[in-house]
């Protein structure tokens, strides 16, 4: 019997706002529409609380893809729309420095009833990860090339 605890698939983390993406994920559930089970949605009040280092740390721990599902301009927080966009740009910068494929992090505006957009985002990320594989392999090859480089 296969050990069901061992995940065979890359892991997708979704940071979803309570006012947007998290409710959208619940709406998707209420519609009983399937998406890959290697997707883990965590609720957040507003994504601006995360520093770029948070994401890089998550990749280094073995999260293969992250989608921030925010509420965009519909957010109850006035800082959310601009603040999250800036955060993403700063994080992409840091990811490049650390040799992490920036396609592993995506930002999407998802509303409380955005069932189709929610599924599209998750499925796209799952497809992408099938192609580019586990983050640990990417980081290992980066480390290997870093070590191989002359000091």
């Amino acid at each position: 019997m296969p050990d069901i605890a061992q995940s065979p698939q890359p892991k997708i983390l979704v940071l979803a706002t309570l006012a947007g993406g998290y409710a959208g994920a619940d709406s998707t559930g209420q519609s009983h529409l399937d998406y890959p089970a290697n997707t883990y949605v965590l609720p957040v009040m507003c994504p601006v609380m995360f520093p770029p280092e948070f994401f890089v740390r998550a990749f280094e721990r073995g999260i293969d893809g992250i989608i921030i599902m925010y509420s965009g301009t519909d957010s109850p927080y006035k800082v959310e729309a601009d603040g999250t966009a800036k955060l993403i740009n700063r994080t992409y910068q840091l990811m490049k420095e650390r040799g992490i494929d920036i396609r592993r992090l995506r930002l999407a505006a998802i509303c409380t009833v955005c069932v189709k957009p929610f599924l599209k985002e998750v499925n796209q990320m799952a497809e992408l990860l099938k192609g580019i594989g586990f983050v640990k392999n990417e980081l290992a090859s980066r480390n290997a090339s870093a070590q191989g480089a002359p000091a």
């Binding site: 619940d26 009983h32 399937d34 965590l42 520093p51 509303c111």
Partner: protein, 672 residues
């Protein structure tokens, strides 16, 4: 409980009556969680939200000394509060609770992957446990609440909500955009199923509202901005001038020459730009229609021409709660939809009702000066539209909902027609007759018995309405396939076509953005949950009354308004509200007053750097004002010392959850 007490975590995995356990192997999840560090008990339950389930949680807290609780069940919006309350009853701080959604975000979306869903449940639960370890007791923010409510909209729902709130001893400010209260109901005549006159009914309600000392009414007024939070909203209300006074009103009314289409009669008649919509309206004083009055001078009794001016004033009202009662608009058919706008013999049902009221004295039904011998009603215009069949509206959507009231309204109108004009031939083109309400079926039966000819069309194949050929007996020809006569193709020549148009929400984009309330796919305002919290929005202290939420008849609007009022009274009656403690908190040990937090914060008065004297030394430190903090956490990301966090949602809690998801579950071989 001191923080340094040993962690004792209780974990529960709910079957949700099969909703979760049909897909997720809850027993395996519970067993795996039982072997996680600090977990003292891990149970499953058929229905944890039941009284027995909640008692089990309380018992575990009392008997096992549990000090953190993690529950995997339905979405937190449903039962997070339920379980927090169970902790309170057992004497535990309610914020030592972590909710994990295993239904909407696991079993319901991975029904084809039981192993994957079970594995996901384990990771999510493990993440929940990881966060639970880092939870601290929190206290809600307690604030004084204004014992006053704002009602937006002066139609029947708004009026009723205002009255019900005021009758419980709270004060109410009612804001109506138009110059007169009464809303759409005032445009009706006899109402089903009692045949009372709509404006008589309204007059009774308005009288009570106007005479209530606790209600202040603003007409020609608009809410321009809303700030604050539940218990302490501040709304900016712009009040336009009436334009006339008691003294000059009648003279101005008769002297005014400029006319515009009268929206009260849906454009069938014209009215002046200084007007009263109907006799007996409230307020009785006429008003200037500032949208259409262009500053033309008006001469009074041959005197100097005067120019009327709108001098808007702004009022700030402090309220604890807001009732949204903005109502509906009748669906406006597209140009050419069933000939509307192209054939003058095609009208909407609301227009016909006004036409009948205007021509009551006549012995025969006339339209455009011609006698009407044959009339056809078409149901579901702008309702029950089908994707791929019906053309989307301007915003790309289709009205795929049923408007609920049009069937009975149509049959009620046919009854009036049959009574007043016995020789009239009436055709009723429908899909399904939905006379669901008390006494409504009688209209259907009476119409069948009374000779109304019913024709049943399918939504995929609409009736065609065209101008008749020259020389035909009737001006309009309807072609329709009748499924009651085995899909026979009928040609029905008629003098008048009446479109039973549905309801659509008003254009209230500004208000929706201001209040941050959500809309459903039908664009009506969205309740939190149709059964758990049917009149509340996701925004604390903002409730819904009437057709702003969806199609309803008068009776249903009244019930919804009263239900909304009950929520407002329960919320504000005690004069204080409690807010969730999820706001920024500064770690005094780490903060050295860099001010990065203050710089990034966009909330007035939420955070400031203050100077303290400690041990004879001056130290700078950030201080949060909780009532003004939104909990967005912008400050968290920028603090160079990691000295600030949003309580209950800290960065280290997220890191722990990420680690739990990223890592594998130990001991799984034995469990599986």
């Amino acid at each position: 409980m001191p923080d340094n007490d040993k962690l004792k975590i209780a974990v529960y995995t709910c079957y949700c009556g099969g909703n979760i356990s049909d897909v997720v192997d809850c027993e395996k999840v519970a067993k795996a969680m039982g072997s996680q560090p600090d977990v003292v008990v891990s149970r499953t339950d058929m229905s944890l939200c039941s009284d027995a389930g909640q008692s089990q949680i309380e018992q575990d807290i009392r008997e096992l000394g549990v000090n953190r609780v993690v529950i995997g069940s339905c979405a937190p919006t449903l039962h997070e509060v339920t379980f927090r309350n169970a902790l309170i009853r057992a004497g535990l701080n309610p914020y030592l609770y972590q909710h994990v959604g295993l239904r909407e975000q696991d079993s319901w979306v991975h029904s084809n992957d039981h192993a994957g869903a079970t594995r996901k449940a384990m990771h999510l639960m493990k993440a929940g446990i990881a966060k639970a370890r880092l939870l601290h007791p929190l206290e809600p923010i307690r604030l004084q609440a204004e014992k006053q409510a704002l009602v937006i909209g002066g139609g029947v729902a708004g009026l009723r909500a205002a009255l019900d709130i005021a009758q419980q001893g709270l004060r109410v400010v009612l804001v109506e955009k138009s110059p007169f209260v009464g809303g759409r109901m005032a445009q009706l005549e006899a109402v089903f199923p009692t045949h009372e006159n709509a404006r008589d009914l309204l007059r009774g309600l308005i009288k009570k509202v106007v005479n209530h000392p606790g209600i202040k009414i603003y007409t020609q007024a608009e809410v321009m901005g809303v700030a604050g939070y539940v218990g302490n909203y501040c709304a900016q209300v712009i009040q336009h001038s009436r334009g006339v006074t008691e003294e000059n009103a009648e003279a101005l009314l008769s002297a005014c020459q400029q006319e515009v289409p009268d929206e009260f009669n849906y454009g069938l008649t014209r009215r002046k730009t200084i007007y009263r919509p109907y006799p007996g309206c409230y307020p009785p004083l006429p008003a200037v229609d500032w949208d259409n009055y262009q500053g033309e001078p008006i001469s009074l009794n041959g005197g100097e021409p005067i120019v009327l001016e709108d001098v808007p004033t702004s009022v700030d009202v402090n309220v604890g709660a807001i009732v949204v009662a903005t109502g509906f608009d009748p669906y406006e058919p597209r140009q050419g939809e069933y000939g509307y706008g192209e054939l003058k013999e095609v009208v909407t049902l609301p227009q016909l009702i006004r036409h009948l009221a205007l021509s009551k004295a006549n012995h025969a039904l006339e339209w455009n000066g011609h006698p009407v011998r044959d009339v056809a009603f078409i149901h579901c215009v702008g309702s029950r539209e089908i994707e791929g069949v019906d053309e989307p509206h301007e915003d790309g959507r289709i009205n795929n909902y049923c408007s609920r009231v049009c069937c009975t309204a149509t049959l009620h109108t046919t009854e009036e027609l049959r009574q007043h004009f016995p020789g009239l031939n009436i055709y009723d083109l429908y899909q399904d007759i939905r006379t669901y309400g008390r006494g409504h079926e009688d209209y259907y039966r009476d119409a069948l018995l009374g000779g109304v000819r019913f024709v049943r069309y399918h939504g995929e194949e609409h009736p065609q309405v065209t101008a008749a050929s020259a020389g035909d007996t009737h001006p309009v020809l309807i072609r329709v396939k009748d499924s009651l006569t085995y899909n026979e193709e009928l040609e029905i020549p008629v003098d008048l076509v009446v479109l039973a148009v549905g309801m659509q929400p008003r254009q209230i984009d500004k208000l929706v953005n201001m209040l941050k309330v959500s809309r459903g796919t039908d664009r009506f305002l969205l309740e939190v949950h149709p059964k758990l919290r049917p009149v509340e929005t996701a925004v604390n202290g903002v409730v819904l009354a009437g057709t702003a939420q969806g199609p309803m008849n008068i009776q249903e609007s009244l019930s919804a308004a009263s239900a909304a009022a009950a929520k407002v009274v329960a919320l504000l009656g005690r004069g204080r509200v409690e807010l969730q403690p999820f706001v920024a908190a500064v770690d005094a040990e780490k903060c050295n007053g860099t001010g990065a937090c203050v710089e990034i914060c966009e909330y007035e008065g939420a955070i400031a750097v203050q100077t303290f004297t400690e041990n004879g030394k001056e130290v700078k430190r950030a201080v949060v004002t909780p009532a003004n903090c939104s909990g967005c956490g912008a400050c968290v990301a920028v603090c160079p010392n990691h000295a600030i966090n949003v309580q209950g949602w800290t960065l280290s809690q997220y890191e722990a959850m990420v680690d739990a998801i990223a890592s594998d579950i130990p001991n799984m071989a034995e469990v599986a």
